[in-house]
Symmetry: C3
Amino acid sequence: MRISEAKTELLKEPEILGGMRPLMEQLYPICRSITGQGVRDTLEVIGSRIGLDMVAVPTGTQAFDWTVPKEWNVKGAYIKGPNGDTVVDFARLNLHLVNYSAPFRGVMSLSDLKPHLHSLPEHPDWVPYRTSYYSESWGFCLSHNQLQSLQDGSYEVVVDTSLGDGVLNYGEFLVRGETEREVLFSCHICHPSLGNDNLSGIAVATTLADMLTRMKTRLSYRFLFIPGTIGSIVWLSRNEEWASRIVHGLVLTCIGDAGGFTYKRSRRGDSLTDRYMEHALRRFGVPSQIQDFSPYGYDERQFCSPGFDLPVGCLMRTPHGCYPEYHTSADNLEFVKQQSLEESLRLCLDFIELAENDAVLVNQNPKCEPQLGRRGLYKAVGGQHRQQDFQMAVLWILNQSDGQHSLLDIAERSGIDFATIRHAAERLQDAELLRPAGRA
Amino acid sequence: MRISEAKTELLKEPEILGGMRPLMEQLYPICRSITGQGVRDTLEVIGSRIGLDMVAVPTGTQAFDWTVPKEWNVKGAYIKGPNGDTVVDFARLNLHLVNYSAPFRGVMSLSDLKPHLHSLPEHPDWVPYRTSYYSESWGFCLSHNQLQSLQDGSYEVVVDTSLGDGVLNYGEFLVRGETEREVLFSCHICHPSLGNDNLSGIAVATTLADMLTRMKTRLSYRFLFIPGTIGSIVWLSRNEEWASRIVHGLVLTCIGDAGGFTYKRSRRGDSLTDRYMEHALRRFGVPSQIQDFSPYGYDERQFCSPGFDLPVGCLMRTPHGCYPEYHTSADNLEFVKQQSLEESLRLCLDFIELAENDAVLVNQNPKCEPQLGRRGLYKAVGGQHRQQDFQMAVLWILNQSDGQHSLLDIAERSGIDFATIRHAAERLQDAELLRPAGRA
Amino acid sequence: MRISEAKTELLKEPEILGGMRPLMEQLYPICRSITGQGVRDTLEVIGSRIGLDMVAVPTGTQAFDWTVPKEWNVKGAYIKGPNGDTVVDFARLNLHLVNYSAPFRGVMSLSDLKPHLHSLPEHPDWVPYRTSYYSESWGFCLSHNQLQSLQDGSYEVVVDTSLGDGVLNYGEFLVRGETEREVLFSCHICHPSLGNDNLSGIAVATTLADMLTRMKTRLSYRFLFIPGTIGSIVWLSRNEEWASRIVHGLVLTCIGDAGGFTYKRSRRGDSLTDRYMEHALRRFGVPSQIQDFSPYGYDERQFCSPGFDLPVGCLMRTPHGCYPEYHTSADNLEFVKQQSLEESLRLCLDFIELAENDAVLVNQNPKCEPQLGRRGLYKAVGGQHRQQDFQMAVLWILNQSDGQHSLLDIAERSGIDFATIRHAAERLQDAELLRPAGRA
C-alpha cells in the first residue's frame, strides 16, 4: 500500500538515513534544560528540517498540579583554582555545570567547594550529568580523576546563570492524514550534551516526521519535542480535550546504542499499540525484550496516568539506567551507532505500516468458501513458498473475517506474515469478496 | 444408560466389526469421482447396509458461489505403445486415468505424450492419484519405473469419457432420536481406489449408522456420504435453514492407518464437540494429537465457514499429506488396518456416549450436603477404588451442580472418569437429589 | 494501622503465646463427641478464656436435610479379661471406647468380642480413634500389641453410655467491628483426646478471639466451636439469613504439627479470602502448598455447598490423612509443636491485617502525576532500599488507583510488600491525593 512503497523509496534517498548523524552533531553542543535558550536553539535546528511549531508557555502557568517553572539561562560558569587557572569550565563541556544551577559568585576553600562538586568514583574519567530542578542550588560536575587532583587553596566560583520569569518551550508537528485519529511520537529535549538519552530519539523522530510528510497516510501523526515530565504535563493540560484522538503512541528514547530493543508496554498492556509493536519486534530480527508497564521511566508516565490512560508505550534499546554510560559524558555521539539509529527508524516504520494497514474486513460470501479458481485466486501464480502462504492467507482471511477479527488477529492466528495477509486481503477486496467493516 | 449397553451388545455381533473390511473390498474397485456412475454405485453399496437416501442435483444448479459441475463417466481409457501393446489401462487400475479427464483420442509421439503422464520419482513403484476438476484436460498416471521404460515411438491414446449435463449425487441418512438436535458425521466419497483416504471413513460411518439404528438415542444422527467440497457446499445450500440443528459434527477421514489419532478442532475451538472428542481421546489409550482449526483440509472447511460456523471437527489418524502413501496406489486396502478401523469406531462411540449423557443437572438440596447415609449413598457398597471414586463423584456432583456446570465439567474438574460421574448422577437422580436443568 | 500495632503489643504479652498449651492440656482429657457433656465441658473451658455463647439445639430438630441426633454420654466403659483384670478402660484413655458407642453389657468369648475391637497392625503401639455415628453399635480400640496378647476365655464388657433425647451444643463468639461484615473462623470440637486434629484449631481460634477483643477492627469476627458436619449444618440452618454477611472465612484444623502450611481454597477459588491467604503465605517464610477446593475435608464442605458458596477456605499444616498419627493416640499433645501453633496464629493475624487494610482507593489527581516534591513525598526521607520501595509504591498507587484496583492488586502487580503499599497509601491519603472508593 501507499506507505510501503513510499517507505522503500524514501529510504533509498541518502539524506534520509544519512541525515540523522549531522542533526545530532548540530544539536550535541547546545546546553538544553527544561527551559531556556538551549531549548529554543534545539527547536530551531529541528525546525530547519521539519516545519515545527514552537510553543511558549509563560512561567507560572498552571498545568494540572504543576506550575511552569522559571526560565533558566547560562552566560558562563567556571571554577578558577588557587593559581588562577580555570579548572572547570562550562564552555568546554556543558555537563560541567549542574543543570538549572542558580546564579552564584564567590571565593571559597576546597573543603567548602567540595559539597558542590560531583564525580563518579567508579568511572574516574567520566563527567556525570546532574540537575537541580525544583530546588535552587548550584554545583559542578567533573571527572573523579580531576577532583582528586585538586589542591587545597582558594577557589573562585562563577555561576553566571539567570533564573527568572520567561517561558517553557516545546515543539509540535502534525502530519495530517485522511482521518483525525492520531499516532503520537514523543521525545524529550531537556538533556544537554548527551547522545543516546536525548539526541537519538530526536534524530529518529525528526526523520520519521520528515518521511511522513512525503507519504499519504490514513492516520495523522503528531510529533512532540518536549522537556521531560513538565513538558508532557503542560502539553496534556493544553490538549486535554483532544488527547482522546491519540489511538497509538510511542515515547522514543535511548534508541541509538548498540543493544537490542526494549519495548515497555502502555498501561493498558494489550492496546493495539502494544500488539503492533510486539508483532513488529517479533518479525524484526533484532533481539528484543518486552517490559510490562511500570509508572517509572519517561513521559509515558504522564500519557498513561489514570486520567488519560492513553495507549502510549516506550521504545528503547538498552533501558535508562541499564548501561553505565547513562547520564555521563560517556553517553556521547560515539556511543550512538548509525546502524542502531537506522534499525530504530525502520522498526518505527514497520509499526506505522501495521497501524496504517490493519483493518477489520468482512467476508462478503460467508456461507462456504467462494469459488476461488474462477477469480484467479486459487493456485494463481507460480513462486513456491510465498505462493503457498498467499493461498493459505486467502483461506484464513475468508474464514476469520466475520467482523470480529482484524488482519493482525489473522496474521497472528495463522502464523503468516502480516504483509502477505495484507496483500491477500487486497486481492480479496479487488475480487469484492471482502469489504471494510471499519478500521482497527 | 441405553447407549452404553447397546454398544456393548452390538460390538459382540461379529458382522459389526467384521463387516467393515468386506464393505471396503466391495467399494475399492469402483471409479468414484465428484459426479458420475461411480458415485451412484458406491451409494448403492452403502445403501445395501443402511437405508440411505440418494440425492441427485442437476448440473448447473447454483449452490452459493458454486455451480454443480458436469457429470463425468468413463467407458474406458488406455495407452497403446509403439508395438501395439496396451501399456496403461484404466481397466487394470482406475488411478491410471487422471480423474475427471476430458474425452480424447489421438496418436502422438512419446515427447508429446509425456506432459500428460504423471509419476512419482521418489516412489518409483507407486501410481499417483491426480484429478483435473474445474479445468478440462486429460492425463494418465503410472509408476515412475514404467514411465522410464517407455520407448520412443508412436502412442495411441484413448480417453473414452464423457462430461455432460447430468447430476451430482450424495447419500444422506438420518437416525432419529428423541430430539431434533443432530450430530453430523460426514465423509467424502469422491476418491476412486484409495483405502485410507476415503474408504476408511465410509466403512466406519456406515457401521456407526447401522449401530445407531439399533439404539435408543436422545440426539438424532445424520450421516452424509458426499463428494468433497462441492458435496458439502451443495448440501449446505439445500439445508441452510436446518443446519443450526447440528449441535456436534465430525468429518471422518483417513481413520484406518496404523498411526495414532489426530483430532482437528472446529473453528470455535472450544465447542462441546471439541471437548467431548478431546475428553474421549485422553481416556482412549491410543496416542493422539490435537490440532487447532485451520481453513485447509476436508469438508470441515465448509461446515466451519463463518456464515455457518458449525461445531464440526475432523477426526483422522495420520493427517492427509503426512504419510507417503497419501494420494497414491499404495493407499490401498493393505494400508488400512482392521485394528485401526475398530479403534476409530469405538472412539466415535465414546464420543457419542459423551454427547448423549452429558447434562447440566441441578442439586435439589443445595444448602449443605444432604444426608447421604440414610439414602444408601454413603459408603454404600464394597469394592475398593471404584467405590471411593463413586463416593467422591457423589460429593463433587452435589457441590458443583448449581446449574453452571455440566457432568463433563465435573468429570474434568474432579479428575474422575465420566462414566463414574454419570453413574453417580443417575443414583442421585434416583434419590431425587438432582434434576435436569436442560441438556448440554 | 490499628491492628498492626495492637498485634505487635499483644504478642509481647506472655499469656498470649504461652496460653495455648495450657488450654490444650486442660481440654485434652475431656471425652468430646458430636453431642454430650464432653462438648459442654469443652465449651466451658473455652468460655473461661473468651465470653462464649453456648447454644443448645434439641435432639430431633430439623436442619436442612439432617436431624439433630441423640445426645451421647459416657459413665464408663471397660473390658475385663478371663482372670478378672480390666484389660481396656475408657477411664485410662477415652479413645479406647468407640466414640458414640451404644450402651451394652455382656460376657462373651474372645472370638465373639474381636469384631468389636479395633487396632492398627501397621502401628502396633498406637490406639486408633473410631466413631459409630449414625449407626447404633459399640466397640473398643486398643493397641495391636495388646490385642494380640489377649488370651482365649470369657470377657466381661461394660459400655455404660446413654443415647437419648438431649441437645447438640456449639459455641459462638462475635467480636464486633465497625461494620457488620464478618470474618468467620470455625473449628471442630467433636474429637476426644486428639491434639492436632481438634485442639490445635481450638487453641489458635481461642487465642485469636481473645486478641481481637482487644483491637479496634473494621470487620466483625465470628468464631464457631462446633461439632464437625452436623454442627456447621445446624449453625447454617439457624443463620441462613445472615450467612451472606460472611465476607471471609477460614476453617482451622490440624495447624499444630511440624509440617509446612496447606491452604485449601474456597469453592470460588479466587475469592478475596483465597487471595489474602495466598498472599500472606507467600510472604510468611514457611513452606506452603495451595490446594484447589474439593468437596471432601472439614466444615468448608458445608460453608461451600452451592446454596451458600461462602468464601471459606481451610487452613491446615499437614492435611488430614497425610500424617500417620492422624486419628490415633499418637496425635497427642507432644505431636503439637509450640512453634507451629505460634506460626499458625501469626499467619491468621497476617490474613486479618490484609482483610482489614485492603481497600480500593481513588487517585484524586488522576491527570498526570501530582507534584510530589512540594508535598514531601518525593525522595522524602533517607533509608535506602525501603525508601526506594516507598517511592515506587507512591507511583504505583497513583497510577493504578482508578477505582478498579485494590491495594492488594497494586501490591501484587508491583511486587512491593503490602505493608509498604499500605503505608504509602496512608501518606497519600494524608496528602489528600487518595480517597476511599469503598472497601475491598
